[in-house]
Symmetry: C2
Subunit: 335 residues, 2 copies
Amino acid sequence: MITIRDIAREAGVSVSTVSRVLSGKPDVSQATAVRVQAVIDHHAFEANRNARFLKQADTSTILVVVKGRHNLLFASMVESVQAAITEAGLSTAVSYIDEDGDEVAHAERLVPELKPQGTILLGVDAGHLMRSGKRVGVSLPTVLLTNVVRSSTHPLVSSVATDDVASGAEAITYLVSRGHRDIGVVGGDPVTSAISANRLDGARRGLSDQGLSLEDRWVATRFSMSSGHEATTALLSAHPELTAIYAMSDIMALGALRALHDLGLRAPGDVSVIGHDGVELASYVVPSLVTLRQPQDQMARRGVDILLALIAGGEAVHEVLPVELVPGESVRDWR
Amino acid sequence: MITIRDIAREAGVSVSTVSRVLSGKPDVSQATAVRVQAVIDHHAFEANRNARFLKQADTSTILVVVKGRHNLLFASMVESVQAAITEAGLSTAVSYIDEDGDEVAHAERLVPELKPQGTILLGVDAGHLMRSGKRVGVSLPTVLLTNVVRSSTHPLVSSVATDDVASGAEAITYLVSRGHRDIGVVGGDPVTSAISANRLDGARRGLSDQGLSLEDRWVATRFSMSSGHEATTALLSAHPELTAIYAMSDIMALGALRALHDLGLRAPGDVSVIGHDGVELASYVVPSLVTLRQPQDQMARRGVDILLALIAGGEAVHEVLPVELVPGESVRDWR
DNA sequence: CTGAAAGCGCTTACAG
DNA sequence: CTGAAAGCGCTTACAG
């Protein structure tokens, strides 16, 4: 394996000088830098990152931790985050963790290895972070994306999110405005997912504002197509009076659409469906999904900006961005 | 930050002994091991991987390189691969690279850092690997997944794939068996993608077997929904006589279904669609997609088994698994 | 079974 | 501007 010593020997300089050229340090003469760079290029040499990270006190890396591998919303946000970080001249280390893994412990373990300047957490519960974060959010600037922070005890934790209570209410209000009264909800588990709890809460408020109520016309399950399918099937067999369903994610909504079809019902002819998140797929399916779009790119960019400001010594901010109702074919007027 | 030295001090042993306990080496007395482990557990200590990988000659890691971040087929295969590796008592390092990045160079760079026992490559062109692999596939056992190796000059390269020519032909044969004669194809670029070239070739053969021909009724584009949408729109405006379309991936097929809808055509009423890959989503959309399913889980598990055998000194094998035609609602009988 | 020591490939004060 | 040297946190022969 080729190392920095080989490059040094071949370029006729010391290892220190090669290191300086590699990391673009200014204290190298033009002539030397050019000569060394030529050797580096010739071998397409890149410094071993294990050694680099082991020694380096301060990396120009931002750690991005994503909870859940199958989340289309997160997938698209990670891309925007990465683009914004690259534009800022920093590098990104993305680490995925299972939906039921301990993401805070995971991040804590990565920090001494990556020595990032800051970290962006996608889908990480604020309460959990506050409780078990020792470094992340305490000594390390941290931004939560998509998860709201209510009361922050940690000066280095910022957040960019949408208002899930308001969004849940908006979904219902939209369905009501189209004439629906008998509305069911398919979502995540309000006990383990703060986001689900908030959207459910919002849905309840949206209904009670209209003098309606949800009662037991909701099912809590996982954020997947198959779960959305099962939950919708169960919901409609218990409540055949439903004319509309609010699914707390687009992926669930796709499962719901299929479930309706399998039940011999038509969407939106018999039952309307509204989703949540606004992923690309939502506009491709037939019928295209009415959905509440989280401004993915904007959230990602704001998240990075806020993190950079935090790293530069700025104050924590908690930003709430509005969702946008994306019209589509999956909801029809009722009556 | 807590290090192995802190653990050693607290447990009253040397750093070497802690290291042995950490890596489960047998040459530690029961009593010592228990005592050290208690301290490790108490601090939830994990060895810094930078230091570990830097020093360690031989890791128990398998490197998995995935080309393309948005590939649903790969996403599901990675999961199966990871499960099989874990079952074998090894650990997995997954690295994603953009569709147009140089995956071989990427893998080569990772090897000295991760020192894996072997590597599994998803979506990597065999020719490219043979040409530019210096370590990967040469000194490092390597398995290509989904990409066939025709003639292998490299004794450490195995492969598990489906026969893309046969699959392409099968897609056409199926459509013909349902009465279709005017068939178009939407796929990847045959110049840059061997898989696309093979499927296109297969499609041509399938047609000529029936005394039919493809002529210019095909469009080469990218493997995405939007590309599938555009290509289908273009294809049908140039060839309104088409009654069926073969899309070389399910994602493209979803774009095609939407395009038909947008053109005011019905699927399968006016135009039938057959996809390729058999991703989960294909069975959820309405109409559900007829598709050629690559046996994802089986391919992943065979790939890992073959890699382990290769690592153990076995011979290279090139396994071709059959695709399975998944019935669905997106194709109707014609005439 | 255990410890002292060398060294993995880098970066970074420190001198010059 | 450049180099010699120390050291990051581990693993692993080597002795005992």
